[in-house]
Symmetry: C3
Subunit: 317 residues, 3 copies
């Protein structure tokens, strides 16, 4: 559908394991291509059944309803079908079969596989043995590249461009794979990064080193009030299980929560993103702000995944 | 597909939260429209792919295989697709996300949502925040409006008309939401109602008051043999968990069970309905009676839901 | 799609309960028909949407991801849709409903049903009450007829013919239903059978009697090294739960494991099959042998099931 011959060439038949695998040109080509699918996702344009007869396998070794449904919606909107499982415990793949065997079996059932797996590197391994494209739907706390692409798309569509922005990340900087992927992908652009999080949930050292080497570490602060001016605030959920002491969790949880009042100093143009689900870290009084983009962000997830599936499976060529 | 312009106008884009939301004219329009889908459900007519490319979301926060599969079948028969989850425990929506957030996310993935939720009022809340139609697939012991429509359709097709009937409800009158919804919807018609149930499972007082105010309470008896003549007997399952003492349950369970012999006094024209699943409350020797409609009733569920989905999503216009 | 009028006549609308229900001519007709679907499964031929608008019900009362996904893939590749459940525990069918009632309800939702059930004879019972075809997807340790058809297809395509082969079965000969079904179906052909298994997992006596009466029992040995020349080695997994003493299991498990070295004496033409999943009974160093057919075997599962569904549901006529 999309008229992007170069991107089609770059993406056709390709696995998507890490956001870092894409060059800046490829990222921009995908974001450009996605725009054509936006009216389809909104229901304002007829659905192109470009993937009719094609089957997407969804292997979710840990539950992730949101990512799963978003991929399903994208595939179904393009006329394709889906199969798979949403929880490894219900599947016979828990009978001791290796991931390699599972992939070699399931690749006989479909044209591409979305893999969600608790182990870091699972998607890379799967992509090495599979004869069909593997799309990483999250491997442990490592990568979630399609989330990164939809985050980039959301910021770019809302702000007009990626270059020149100051982007703050707040919450769980240590285990939040959406933070790692997005921060890393933003290195392609001329952005200034700021990290706001509690002492025990700071950036992992390898990512900090990468950012530092690129001269993009920006500031690391513990309080939002110390962050300075921001164009974008990317929030994440802090998970209780990271804190052995419930008291510590309660304290941190309330410190890394924003409401309308807390965001006021940043002005009306601040864009607020969140990969969702939220618990209480973004108060519902933020929802009506023009810059509250998190629900738009989940819709963009379908848009960007439609573009990606169409490019990879050849529907867009 | 159906040639019912007024109904199409009334249903297009609309949520279905409670059977009480429909006027008598709307109920009849739906039941008339459904007739056109009956040959399709039976496989005697070609399938109209009127909802091709449309996606129905199924959010089942408690399991209900029958309602879920019936909606799925209806949507698939019309050329559409489905996505969702069948048990909230497997979904990431159990991570503490509010129902409002869940709806605002999932509405980005589909064109309408069927919601099954243990909490009364969940469907009403969802319909208020959603930008797409919400179909209540059961909210606690409150409402299950599409079950009511298929019950009405089944009675009307079998008896020729709804006016003039004497309808008995037997079993759990207190918690059985199918009883509540159907009794309430029958107020649109000139019917006589009779309620047969154990002392601790009588009608809830608000429904009794409504029926009384409308002059339709009819008789309330404890034994089927005291019910008098009946055209329709609507059976429900009595759930063990309503009885703290297992002995009480055993006694009641056997008293509210019918077999061929128990139904003989009502004559050969008695229609027997049951929302299913049954445990033992309708003996299998009833299955061969011409008036045993419960399996036809489940098939009618697909027919009526096809009509409803087609009207709401615009395939019928 | 397939041009096999006799087979179409024999299969149309028919249930598939046991491999023994098929005559030799019917088996061959199915295997011939399947060949036409192989390029479709491999993605080398356009997809025939011959089952568009048709719905396949998948009732899995015990999990079996592989069989379920293989049937789903076959149905989706033919343009059809699927619905059902993958685990009875999540379904409301666990509320005490009889299997007969479940079948009579679900047959209203679809055009054919694949049934996986832990009880022997469940598929036979379902086929007797259903008005639509029932496909046995495994009933206890009894039958799994579509697995047998794909096994036969795999052997025939690889070896050129079924007659004249010497086929060894190794592992759990007692509870392995794939062994029972395939050995029984091979009676149609001029093959020599050999059984290799531990003392407590020998063939069930009724199957041994059948094979003996047909003069086909061949040899029964405890060690692969005593099996003599083989054209085909059909491996099965030995399940830990068959051994009350873990020590016994460990001993047997290692004795019924093959690697490249153990297979060398059989020469380069040996075909190795396994229904999968494997744990360690076939070492991964076997995977690269030209005769290692188990991954091809799972792909053939889609091919054969496409042919079967198309023949039964009339898409092939």
């Amino acid at each position: 559908m999309a008229d992007v011959p170069d991107a089609a060439q770059a993406f056709r038949g390709r696995s998507v394991v890490s956001a870092d695998d894409f060059s800046k040109e490829e990222v921009l080509a995908l974001l450009d291509a996605a725009r054509a699918y936006d009216p389809v996702q909104r229901g304002d344009a007829p659905l192109p059944p470009s993937l009719q007869g094609r089957v997407l396998g969804l292997l979710f070794f840990e539950p992730s309803t949101r990512t799963r449904l978003s991929f399903e919606s994208a595939m179904l909107r393009l006329g394709g079908s889906v199969l798979g499982f949403s929880d490894a415990r219900q599947s016979s793949f828990s009978k001791g079969e290796s991931l390699v065997d599972t992939i070699r079996v399931v690749e006989g059932y479909c044209d591409a596989i979305v893999l969600r797996h608790p182990r870091e590197g699972a998607a890379r391994l799967a992509a090495e043995v599979a004869g069909i494209p593997i799309l990483n739907g999250g491997d442990g706390s490592n990568q979630h590249p399609t989330q990164t692409m939809l985050d980039l798309y959301t910021i770019r569509e809302a702000a007009g461009a990626l270059d020149g922005l100051r982007v703050g990340f707040m919450g769980d900087l240590r285990y939040g794979r959406t933070v790692h992927s997005l921060a890393s992908a933003l290195l392609h652009f001329d952005v200034d990064l700021c990290f706001i999080g509690p002492e025990n949930l700071q950036l992992p050292s390898d990512l900090r080193d990468t950012l530092k080497a690129a001269g993009r570490l920006g500031s690391e602060v513990e309080l939002l009030s110390d962050a300075g001016a921001l164009d974008v605030l990317y929030m994440t959920r802090i998970q209780q299980e990271r804190f052995p002491d419930p008291m510590d969790y309660e304290r941190v949880r309330n410190a890394y929560r924003v409401d309308r009042a807390a965001l006021e100093p940043f002005g009306p143009d601040l864009k607020v993103l969140h990969p969702l689900p939220r618990v209480n870290e973004v108060a519902t009084d933020v929802d009506d702000l023009p810059g509250a983009l998190y629900f738009q962000q989940t819709r963009n997830g379908v848009t960007v995944r439609m573009a990606l599936l169409d490019l990879i499976l050849g529907g867009a060529s």
